[in-house]
Each structure stands twice: as C-alpha cells, then as structure tokens.
C-alpha cells in the first residue's frame, strides 16, 4: 500500500503546479523508498530507464527543418493554400486529416505524421486559416481552441488507427501477455477487434469537428 505514495505525489504535484520534472523525481524517490530500495538504487534504476527510453526524445531532431521552413514562410503558405480552396472548411480539413492519420497508422506508419512533423507546420495553420475564412472576427480563445483541436485530431487518429496494425507494440504486448497465461492468439485477431473502435472514434471525433466548425463560424460564437 505504501508504494502508492508516488501516485499521490504525482497527483498533488500536478494539481499544485510544481515543476513536473521535480514532481516526477520526488515521486520516484518516495515510491522506491517505500518499496525498501536505497537512494542509490533508485537513482540508478531511474538512470537506466532514462537511457533506455532516449528514443522518445529524438523527435526533436526535426526542429531545425521546421525552423528553416517556417522562416521561409511555410505556415503562411499553408494558410494561403486553404484560402484558395473554397471547399476547405475547418470541419472537412480536420476530418480528412483524422481519416488520413487513422489509415496511415493502421498500416504501421505512425511516425510519418505527428505534432512536430505535421501539426505545428501544416495542420494547425491550415485549420486556423480555414476558421478565419468563414469568420473574420475569430477571437484569441477561438484561435486557441482550433489549434488545440488540430493537435487532438492527430492524437485521436494515431491512437485509434495504430492498433489495427499487426506489428505495433501494443499488439505484441497483448500477444505476449496472453501467451504467458496459456492463450495463444494470432495478432490478426487483436487487429480485427480494433476496427469497431476505430470506426466509433472516427464518428465521434468527426461529429465533434463539425460542431467545432459551427461554433467557430456561427453567429452566437462571435458575439
């Protein structure tokens, strides 16, 4: 029971808005101590895990490319493209991206798009331009919401597409775990059962994107 103190520290720390890195370290130390580890062992375990998960942070190598392209006007160009396409409404744009992201993830291409690679340089400015095209009095808060929805759409597309792919980590985890309990299951069965949820995610999020568009362009929103 005592090891749950780490979870309490995380929740309290996030709520009280301490620096999250400090909160995480405090949580790791408290959890380790509660489990009877000494400080040196906890620091070493944390260090080992940090080193093993470095691949999480290599995405930042795309920033020089994004920085270069933005300095030469990529965001403005993305906006101009949307302005030229008369049919490109906010809802249609983000729904198309949602579908594209789901389909790409379903065939295993999860790292092809993402917040640094596609959302910041392309999808977010395009979404903003599409919202502006229909509402020239877009408030700052509305602008924030449009950008947040661009990022949210990327996440929803990724999460509810990737599990259809046979060789994704989560499927391998399920297969491995169930095999350990004596159930041998083909990866295809897990993939298949991810499809109903993928369709539901597309419908639910797509519906919310339509409502977002109405909110951003409707008269009541700009009042």
């Amino acid at each position: 029971m005592l090891v749950l103190i780490g979870i309490a520290i995380i929740i309290a720390g996030f709520l009280l808005r301490f620096n999250p890195l400090l909160v995480i370290m405090a949580s790791a130390l408290a959890t380790g101590l509660a489990a009877g580890l000494d400080v040196q062992a906890i620091v070493a375990a944390f260090g080992k895990a940090f080193n093993d998960t470095r691949y999480v942070s290599i995405i930042w190598i795309v920033l020089p490319v994004i920085g270069l392209l933005e300095a030469y006007g990529l965001q403005q160009h993305a906006r101009r493209l949307i302005d030229r396409m008369k049919g490109a409404t906010l809802g249609r744009l983000l729904t198309s991206y949602l579908l594209l992201r789901q389909v790409m993830s379903a065939v295993g291409l999860t790292s092809v798009a993402g917040h640094a690679q596609t959302v910041r340089p392309l999808v977010a400015p395009m979404a903003e331009a599409a919202a502006e095209a229909k509402n020239d009095a877009l408030t700052d808060d509305q602008r924030e919401e449009v950008k947040a929805f661009a990022a949210a759409t990327d996440n929803v597309g990724l999460f509810f597409g990737e599990d259809i792919f046979l060789a994704i980590g989560s499927i391998l985890l399920m297969k491995g775990l169930l095999e350990g309990y004596g159930y041998v299951i083909e990866p295809l069965h897990f993939s298949m059962w991810a499809i109903p949820t993928a369709i539901a995610a597309f419908l639910i999020h797509g519906f919310r994107l339509r409502r977002l568009e109405r909110r951003m362009t409707g008269k009541e929103a700009s009042a």
Binding site: V3, L4, G6, I10, P20, M25, A28, T31, G32, Q40, V43, A44, A45, F46, K48, F50, N51, R54, Y55, V56, S57, I58, V62, L63, P64, V65, I66, G67, L68, L69, E70, A71, G73, L74, Q76, G108, L109, S111, V119, A124, E144, E145, K147, A148, D154, N155, V156, F160, D163, G169, S170, L173, L178, Y181, I185, H189, M192, A201, H205, R208
Partner: protein, 312 residues
C-alpha cells in the same frame, strides 16, 4: 548497417548545437541554464551507454535541478518578421511544402526498404532511422535551394525547442518513472485494490470495472501499456476470461483501446498532450486535453459496451 546509434549521435549533435548557440545568446538571461540543460541531453544521447546506470541517474538529477530551479527560459523574439515570411511564402510556395513532405516520404520509403532489403539498417528501428535520414535529406534540399545562412536551421530549431523548454524531456522522464513504479510493484497493489472493489456475480459490473480501471490507471501512469498487464491480471483474466468465458482477443484488444481513451485525458501522457500545447504555443498547457475529453469519454463508454457485446 545503420542502427539506432546513428540516430542518437545525430540527436546528440543537434542538442549540442542548440546548447552552444544557447550559450552564445546574450539576449537570454537564462542562457547558462539552457546551455547546461541541452548540453546534458546531448551528453545523454552521445554517451549514455557509457555513463553507467548511476551516472545516467546523476545526469537526470542535474536536469531536474536546472529545471526545478527555474533556470530554463527563452529569449524574446528571434523569429523572422511576419512580413518577410509572407513575402518569402509567395516566392517559395510549394517548394516549402515539398521539403516538409520529404520527412514523411523518406520515413515511409525507408521503413519499407529497410524491412525488405536486410542488412542496410536495423529492421526493428526502420522508421526512426528513416525519420532521421528524412530530416537530413530535407535539410540538404531545403538549404541548397533556399540558400539559407548555414546556422539558420539550428538557430530557428533552438528557438522552437526553447519555447518547449523542459517539457521536451517530460515524456522520457515519465517513461522512466514508470520503470521505477514497476520495480516497486505499484501495479500489483492497484490491481489488487480494483479487484476487491468489483461486485460479485455481475458480468456488466466486471466489464465496467475493467474498462474504467484501464482508463483510470492509464491516466495515472500516462501509458496504457503500463496499465494493461495490471488490469488483465486483476480483472480481465480471472473474471472476464476465466469466470465468464469472454473471448481473450476481444477483452485484450478493446481493453487496450479503453486505456487509450485514458491517455487522451491525462497530463501524464506528456508527449501527446502537454508537448503539443507547448509546440503550438497555447496559453494553457491543458488546452489539448480539454479538446480531447469530449471524444474520450463517449468513446470509453462505447468501448465498454463493445467488450460486453462482442466478448460474450
């Protein structure tokens, strides 16, 4: 053969460049903190395998100390003026889009190439290696055609990373915390608690506890992968599969997706939720989570109903 080491070296050199440029930026009052932070990250990328576990742990403590003391900050300005950008956008237009698409295109092509032609690159890391190659290709093509100053990509990249700040290592830190939680047996304790909270004899009650447990525990851990083994051991296996004879493939597959709904609602999943808020320079770090709750909650309910319908 190209391995992940190549990507780590590239990332290490990039962070080292950011550290060096940060150090020289006299307009930033926190330049020493920034330089030390990105410098340590460069060290981790380049030499992490030689530092030893405790050495890496000390490196993390130093990162935490710099961030915790508030020594990371960004210099004001530094971006190219909007008018200049707009003028250049007219001139270079679709070429910029083309370069932006080089990264995903190379990532795509490389992923297939490295899987089909063995010996070129580590097939297990094909996408990450291809992503890195795509970055190099995009930089080469972009800089050649735009004739940009040599240091401009690094300077602008550093500006973007400084805007993200310490949140850049948050995902890696949370993943490491998960490892400490696993070592301390946090999962077993939570699983045991949830297991005792389920009403006996109710199939739907058990499905509900499983789905909600996956989502809630994922929110705490920030990762459905950490919640899955715990919830399967506590509820999925003994109740849904053994007692009620549910289809294990359905329970596992949709249970995992119920966990993903939790991922959409938690700041602990920093790389998906907090990092994009920083990258998009949103006012609230929780803006992305707020946009996602309205999708996550109904979808979680749908997943719970799906398990109930399809597994039994």
């Amino acid at each position: 053969m190209i391995t992940l080491t190549f990507v780590y070296i590239l990332a290490g050199l990039t962070f080292a460049l950011f550290a060096g440029l940060g150090f020289m930026d006299r307009s930033n009052p926190k330049r020493f903190g920034n330089a030390a932070f990105w410098g340590l990250l460069a060290l981790s990328m380049l030499a992490g395998d030689y530092l030893g576990d405790f050495g890496n742990g000390l490196l993390v403590l130093a990162l935490v100390a710099i961030a915790g003391a508030g020594q990371i900050g960004r210099a004001p300005g530094g971006e190219v003026p909007a008018e200049v950008q707009a003028e250049r956008a007219v001139r270079y237009g679709n070429f910029l889009l083309l370069v932006a698409l080089i990264i995903p295109a190379v990532a795509l092509a490389g992923t297939f190439l490295f899987k089909w032609v063995p010996g070129l690159a580590d097939p297990n890391q094909a996408t990450l290696i291809s992503l890195a190659l795509g970055v190099l290709a995009a930089l080469a093509v972009g800089m050649a055609r735009l004739r940009s100053p040599l240091m401009l990509p690094a300077q602008q990249g550093r500006r973007l990373l400084d805007a993200v700040g310490w949140a850049a290592v948050l995902p890696q830190m949370l993943a490491s915390l998960g490892a400490v939680f696993a070592l301390a047996g946090v999962g077993e304790v939570v699983g045991g608690l949830i297991g005792t909270a389920i009403p006996q004899g109710s199939l739907f009650g058990a499905v509900l506890a499983f789905g909600l447990g996956m989502a809630l525990f994922t929110m705490v851990m920030g990762n459905a992968f950490a919640a899955f083994p715990v919830m399967m051991a506590a509820v999925g296996l003994p109740l849904l599969i053994k007692q009620y004879h549910g289809d294990p493939a359905v329970v596992a597959a949709i249970g995992m997706l119920a966990g993903f709904c939790g991922t959409l609602m938690t700041p602990m999943a920093a790389n998906f939720n907090l990092v994009p808020a920083a990258l998009l320079e949103l006012k609230s770090p929780y803006g992305v989570i707020r946009a996602q709750i309205g999708t996550a909650v109904p979808l979680l309910a749908v997943n719970i109903v799906f398990i109930w319908l399809f597994a039994f």
